[in-house]
Symmetry: D2
Subunit: 167 residues, 4 copies
C-alpha cells in the first residue's frame, strides 16, 4: 500500500491584463468547481486576469489556492492566494506552473498562456483548452495528442475528471 | 485595510541523506511546533533527512506541508507532503525554498543547507541556525546581521515568533 | 561614447529528434550565414536536430557557437558547441535561449519550439519563423506584432539584418 | 577518438559592490592569467566588483569573456563581457555559473559567493578559495573534500592546471 497525503492540483493558466470578460467568467467558475471537487487550484498568482478570477472563484468555494509568482517577493500577489511560491524566475516560472499541475486548463489565450500549453505538451501533461480561438486549437491539436478541447466550463471539469480517474 | 488569505510559511532546510539523529529529532519537533502555531511548513520535499522528518512532525500535528522538489516529477517526494511543487531546477530550487519562506530555519548543516543560508542572506531573509557546528555559526554570523543562533527547538520557535511579530 | 565588446547573438530554435530534412538543411545554412556575418550562434546545445545542424553550419564557417543545455552536465552536447552553458533547468532553459538572443529564428516547429516562440513574444523579442506550417504562422502572427515570416534562409538573414540595424 | 571544439571555462566568483581592493587586484590578475592560458572566463557578468575586474583582466589579455546575468536584459552588464547570457533568474543563476565552469575560483567572500561555493560543492565541482577569511576556509573545507586553498593568484592558477590535467 502506498498511502500519501498529496493533494490533486489543477492549474488554470490564462491571460493577465488582456483577459476578456468571458475568460474572467470562465476562470471564476472553474475556480469554484475545482474547489468544490476538493482539488487545489494553482495559478500564476498575480492579482489580475485569469489568475485573480480563478483564485477568487476557488476561495468563494472555500478552496485552497496556490500562486506561483514570477518576481522575487509577494508584491502583486492576489489577495486570495493562500500559498505564495516566490520563484524570481520571470516567465520561466511557467514551467513550474505546468509541472506542478496534475492537469492544465488553459482559459483564454495570450503569449504566456501559449508558452504554458507548449511546455505542458513538451512534458506530456494533459492540457484542456477552453477558448474560442480556433487557430490555437488547430495549432496545438496538430502539435500533440494530449490536447483536449472543452466547449464549456462544465465540459472542462468533466474532461478533468475523466483524465484524472483514468491515469 | 489590506486583508488577505495568505498563510505564514516557515521553511526548514537541512541535510538529506547525511542528517544526524539529532538533526532528525530537531526537525520532527520543529515541524510539530510549526504546525501547532498554524504556520505552513515548507521543505525541499524529498523523502529523506530533515525534509522527511520535518514533514512527518508537521503532519502529526495536522499541519499543511509544502515540498519544493528539484526534479521534473514527484518521484522521491515525501509521503506526507500535501502540496508538491515540481520545479525541475535541481539545486537552483534552493532559491525558491528561501524566497517562499517568511523565515528560514537551518536544522543541521550540509552543502545544500549552506547554499540555502547564503541565498537567504543575499535576499535579506531572516535565518535561524539550529546546529552545533561552531564554524558555520562563526562564518555566517560574520557574513550577515540577519543570522540568528538557536540553542534548542523551543528557542528556534521563540525566535521565529519574535521575528514574525516585529516585521 | 558607450563602447563595449559584446557580440551580437542570433538564436536558432527548432525541433530536436523530430526535425525534418528540410529543417536540418535550413538550420545548417542559417548557421553558416550567421557565422559569415560575424554573429554568434546560440542554440539549445544538444547533438540532435536543428541544434546540431545549425551548430555544424556555423562551425563550418568558423563561427562561435553557444549551447544552452537543459541538463546538469555536458552529456549530449553537440561536439561543435564551443561554449556550453549548463543550466540544469530542463525546458525552463528555453527562456534563457530567448532572452540571450538578440533575435530568435524558429526553424521548423515542435512543442519546445512553440514554447520558445511564445516566451520570445512575451519578452518582446523579435522572432522570425522559417517553416511551412501555416497553422503556426497564423496562430503566432495573430498573437503578436513582433512575429516575422521568412520564406527562405536568405529571407531570414535579410530580415535579421533589417531588424538588427533598425533597433 | 572524441574530438570536440568545446573550450575550457574557468569561473571567477566574488563580491560585487563589497569587493575589497585586494579582491579586485586578484580578480584582474586571475582574469589575465586565465586568458593567457587560452581558457574562457565566466563571471556573473555585472559591471562591478570581482566580476568587472576579472573581465577587464581577461580582456586586457585578449581573452573571451562570458557573463551570466541575473536580470531579464543586459542592463548593468560589464562593457568587456563578450557573451552575455540573460537568465532572469536572480540569484538562482549562481547555480548556472557553477555548473558551466570546469573549475570555480572564489575570489573574496560575500553571501552570493558563499552560495556559489556551496552549490559547487553540492555538484562535486572543484572549488579554489582565494581569500584571507579563515572562517570561510575552515567552514568550507570541513564541508567538503573538493575545496582547495590558494595563497596567491599564481597558486590559484597552478591549482587550476593541476586539477584540469588530472581529470
Amino acid at each position: 500500500m502506498n498511502q500519501h497525503t498529496r493533494k490533486t492540483i489543477i492549474g488554470i493558466m490564462g491571460p493577465g491584463e488582456q483577459a476578456t470578460t468571458t475568460d474572467l467568467q470562465n476562470a471564476y467558475q472553474l475556480g469554484q468547481l475545482i474547489a468544490q471537487q476538493g482539488w487545489v487550484l494553482l495559478t500564476g498568482g498575480r492579482n489580475v486576469g485569469v489568475m485573480e478570477a480563478a483564485s477568487q472563484g476557488a476561495k468563494a468555494a472555500q478552496g485552497l489556492t496556490i500562486g506561483i509568482l514570477p518576481g522575487n517577493n509577494t508584491s502583486g500577489v492576489s489577495s486570495v492566494v493562500d500559498i505564495a511560491i516566490v520563484t524570481d524566475m520571470g516567465n520561466a516560472r511557467n514551467n513550474i506552473n505546468v509541472l506542478s499541475s496534475d492537469i492544465v486548463i488553459a482559459c483564454g489565450m495570450s503569449a504566456g498562456t501559449a508558452s504554458e500549453i507548449a511546455l505542458a505538451v513538451k512534458s506530456n501533461k494533459s492540457v484542456i483548452l477552453l477558448n474560442d480561438d480556433l487557430n490555437s486549437q488547430d495549432f496545438f491539436q496538430k502539435l500533440a495528442p494530449n490536447i483536449h478541447i472543452a466547449h464549456s466550463v462544465n465540459d472542462a471539469i468533466a474532461l478533468t475528471q475523466s483524465i484524472l480517474f483514468n491515469c
